[in-house]
């Protein structure tokens, strides 16, 4: 519940990692996530998949934004990254590292 109330700044400085038991598979332009704990599936578009790939439990969300801004001219904005992370958190597929 505490994570539900995270504001953008606290998310940017936080470090997240996928929870154990989440597996993924590329399918066309989507990344499919399966949470094996409850068998729920989630479909990530290209931007969300990039963000997911950078969740390693070591770098902050701000650092992830830096990487994406450097790699892609039209990469996701910080707000978009924060929104994606918040969705991951509410879906229960990531945890604070």
């Amino acid at each position: 519940m505490m994570e539900d109330r995270m504001n953008d700044e606290s998310v940017l400085d936080a470090v997240f990692a996928p929870i154990d038991g989440v597996v993924s598979e590329q399918s066309g332009d989507e990344l499919i996530l399966l949470n094996t704990a409850d068998q729920s599936s989630y479909y990530l578009n290209g931007s969300a998949a990039l963000i997911w790939a950078l969740l390693d439990g070591e770098r902050s969300v701000r650092a992830m934004h830096g990487i994406l801004a450097e790699a892609y001219e039209d990469g996701p904005a910080a707000e978009e990254i924060v929104a994606s992370i918040q969705e991951f958190v509410s879906a229960g597929v990531v945890r604070r590292a």
Binding site: E25, S27, S41, E87
Partner: protein, 388 residues
């Protein structure tokens, strides 16, 4: 991020069933080929009933293999279908990891007790017939042990937490495997059947471990050596499963045999196989009606590689007579009595070829309807009545 939703159910029409059946049939060959790619691409040009497709995928357990094949072929199905397939692929990939760890434990425990063990059916085929074990969904772990050492086997399995119940009644002792056992592993329940022969007597081939063709096929799970049937013996016993009238018919059984045949092609003495099981050629000929076969396999079996894939209406081309899928009767099949009698006495010609290895000509039909099918039906009814 989008949360998964199930497609709404719709009544399936004949054309929709044909498209789904053709798709599953084409995918029943785990060895990708250009011919398979072209035919799969053509099928996706037709509209697909998502609800019917999902139901058929689950029934025939073809989701992970179809996902993998489409990926190998670089084909992108409609988004809803792609999501369904990828989810099934992930689900089974995760399940196989937990199951395989348990299989390796069982193999290790029995080896430590100096007990020979051969793993059967999906437990072995997922490793021997497919590129990845997760492509082959399965329920139970099936293993074959020697007869007459039940207590030693039970003790070895108990050492890794699998409590088995030895056969007690006369009917249980006559059955080809012990009562189903279960163990909790990695948060999932693993079901285990300890066999003392490969098949039951209803299929006419009691085969204890001491009578089997050697050397056994060998594969490893996490470094643990595991044995499976010799590929020729496996093809023969798997081909007999098509005539099992009370087990669900699954397209996956075709994929098992084609995958094993191609992956173990060089180890198989095809002349010997055809001498041991002369009807197996017709079984593969039935496969050829639903999926393209490799030309080298056709040559080994004396089949025409140019034979086009037919339109057998795969979802309905199965045995629909009594006592098919007894446990499902009523909700799976609820045929009028007249139709049930007809389906019982005059089974589908394509299924007859698959199950009995008879060609669909006049002589083949007579042989099937007057000899092979009545004998099989009687054997299975007698055994079923006795054991139930």
């Amino acid at each position: 991020m989008t949360r998964a939703r199930r497609p709404a159910r719709r009544a399936a029409g004949g054309d929709a069933s044909a498209v789904v059946g053709r798709l599953l049939g084409l995918a029943a060959n785990p060895l990708p080929s250009p011919a398979q790619r072209q035919l799969l691409a053509d099928v996706f040009d037709a509209p697909l009933d998502a609800a019917l497709f999902e139901e058929a995928l689950m029934r025939h357990r073809m989701g992970p293999l179809l996902h993998w094949l489409l990926k190998q072929h670089g084909l992108q199905p409609p988004r809803l279908v792609a999501r369904m397939l990828a989810s099934l692929y992930l689900t089974y990939r995760q399940k196989v990891a937990a199951r395989d760890a348990f299989v390796a434990d069982m193999a290790g425990a029995l080896a430590a007790a100096d007990i020979e063990v051969v793993f059967l059916k999906g437990t072995a085929l997922c490793h021997t017939a497919y590129a990845e074990p997760g492509l082959r969904p399965m329920d139970d772990i099936d293993l074959l042990v020697p007869r007459g050492i039940d207590t030693r086997v039970a003790e070895a399995l108990a050492s890794i937490g699998l409590e088995t119940r030895l056969p007690e009644t006369r009917a249980e002792r006559l059955w080809h495997h012990w009562p189903l056992a279960a163990a909790q592993r990695s948060g999932t329940i693993q079901f285990v059947e300890v066999h003392t022969s490969v098949l039951n007597a209803r299929l006419g081939r009691y085969a204890g471990i001491d009578t089997l063709q050697r050397p056994f096929q060998r594969f490893t799970i996490g470094g643990t050596p595991v044995l499976a049937l010799h590929p020729e013996e496996c093809l023969i016993t798997q081909s007999l499963r098509f005539r099992h009238l009370t087990d669900p018919w699954r397209v996956l059984l075709i994929a098992d045999m084609l995958g094993l045949a191609m992956r173990e092609f060089e180890r198989i003495d095809w002349q010997r196989l055809r001498r041991m099981a002369p009807r197996i050629r017709q079984v593969f000929r039935a496969f050829q009606d639903v999926t393209p076969l490799d030309p080298t396999l056709c040559a080994a079996l004396g089949l025409d590689p140019a034979q086009p894939v037919g339109d057998v209406g795969l979802l309905d081309a199965r045995y629909l007579g009594w006592p098919v899928n007894i446990s499902l009767q009523g909700r799976d099949l609820n045929l009028p009595k007249g139709r049930l009698a007809l389906e019982t006495l005059l089974p589908d010609p394509w299924w007859s070829r698959l199950a009995y290895g008879v060609a669909p000509g006049v002589l083949g039909k007579l042989e099937c309807r007057l000899l092979r099918h009545p004998v099989n039906l009687t054997q299975q009814l007698v055994r079923y009545a006795y054991h139930s």
